[in-house]
């Protein structure tokens, strides 16, 4: 930190230098800075530099935007049309013949699609079908078998494996018997049919 003969501090003067260059100091501060600059060569150099930079900055050119930019701005404004609310734009759009045709086509296509969907054949399965009735019965039987095996497995925890293995064999026999009796019933039904017809005839 240096102090010149006028008593002003160089750092304090340099702090005020930009405001001094812009003529924004109070008269008393301005007199102090002026006196210091007369006396201090280093600060005088800084003052000249500040003046030079400000002058150079002010001589830097402004630039016009290129014509292509202005052209594309004008084109965008033309394509946009005047700035109007979207509701107004929607009404204007709906009044155009092409828009009305497109809207009617889409509506017609939707109606046709709805009718086709509504008229499609029903494909829900029916329990009257003998194949499905048999499958349902077998499923019920299998579920009962699994439930029974679960119950017996719990007993096996207490009494030992003999109970479960014996039970499995028993249940398998029962299933075999059930399926065998059902098959013979079906066969009887097939053989009885013509005889009934024959008896009636």
């Amino acid at each position: 930190m240096s102090r010149s003969a006028d008593g002003a501090n160089c750092d304090a003067v340099l702090e005020l230098l930009e405001a001094f260059v812009d003529g924004e100091l109070e008269p008393a501060e301005e007199r102090t800075v002026t006196a210091h600059l007369d006396d201090c060569r280093a600060c005088r150099r800084e003052h000249r530099l500040a003046m030079e930079i400000r002058s150079r900055l002010r001589s830097l050119p402004e630039h016009d935007a290129p014509a292509k930019v202005l052209w594309s701005v004008r084109m965008a404004a033309r394509e946009d049309g005047p700035t109007v609310p979207w509701r107004t734009r929607l009404v204007q759009w709906s009044r155009r013949p092409a828009s009305a045709f497109a809207t009617a086509s889409v509506a017609l296509a939707m109606v046709v699609a709805a009718l086709v969907w509504w008229q499609r054949p029903a494909q829900r399965p029916s329990l009257d079908d003998p194949e499905i009735a048999r499958a349902a019965q077998e499923t019920r039987f299998a579920l009962a078998l699994v439930g029974e095996l679960g119950r017996r497995a719990a007993l096996d925890e207490v009494l030992g494996r003999r109970v479960v293995s014996a039970t499995v064999d028993g249940v398998a026999d029962a299933l075999r018997k059930h399926l065998g009796s059902e098959r013979s019933e079906n066969e009887n039904t097939v053989t009885e049919g013509p005889s009934e017809k024959g008896a009636n005839g």
Partner: protein, 176 residues
Amino acid sequence: MDRQRFEAVVERHQRRVFTLAWYLLSDREDAEDVTQEVLIRMWRSGGGVAPERLEMWLLRVARNASYDRLRSRRSASRVFAADAAHEAAGTVTADGPSPESVVGGSEIGRRLCAALTELREPAKSIVILREIQGLSYQQISDVLELPLSTVRVSLHRGRRRLRELLREVYRHVSVS
């Protein structure tokens, strides 16, 4: 706003908008994009800005759009680990022509423009608006939405920083 008035406004203010964007971004192509974006935004605002405030509004939008672009450029340069030295200095290089490249043969002018890119915000915007574009403190305060005292202090700080950066260049300046 009708199209005729819009074109008159474009004609009148395009230079201000483009100059601010170019000095802020140091890239001509980016400045062109920002100028186009700002002017189209003015059209779409539908004349919602009072005529006496239009210039300040345009400069504010241009400055914000430029700043957004700088930010995205900065994040892109992070992604690609570009120029680490410039990143540390808070500046980012651009590919297109910069203002200093068209200053016209003056070495000092080129160095001055390069030093300008080293300034931090808001000092950089304030120096450009005040010294290159000639706005008053009050107008700058309106554009940047900053108190007058901040504008004044930031301007002085920015110019002082330029002095530090350019001291070597100006060694030849004679002192009477």
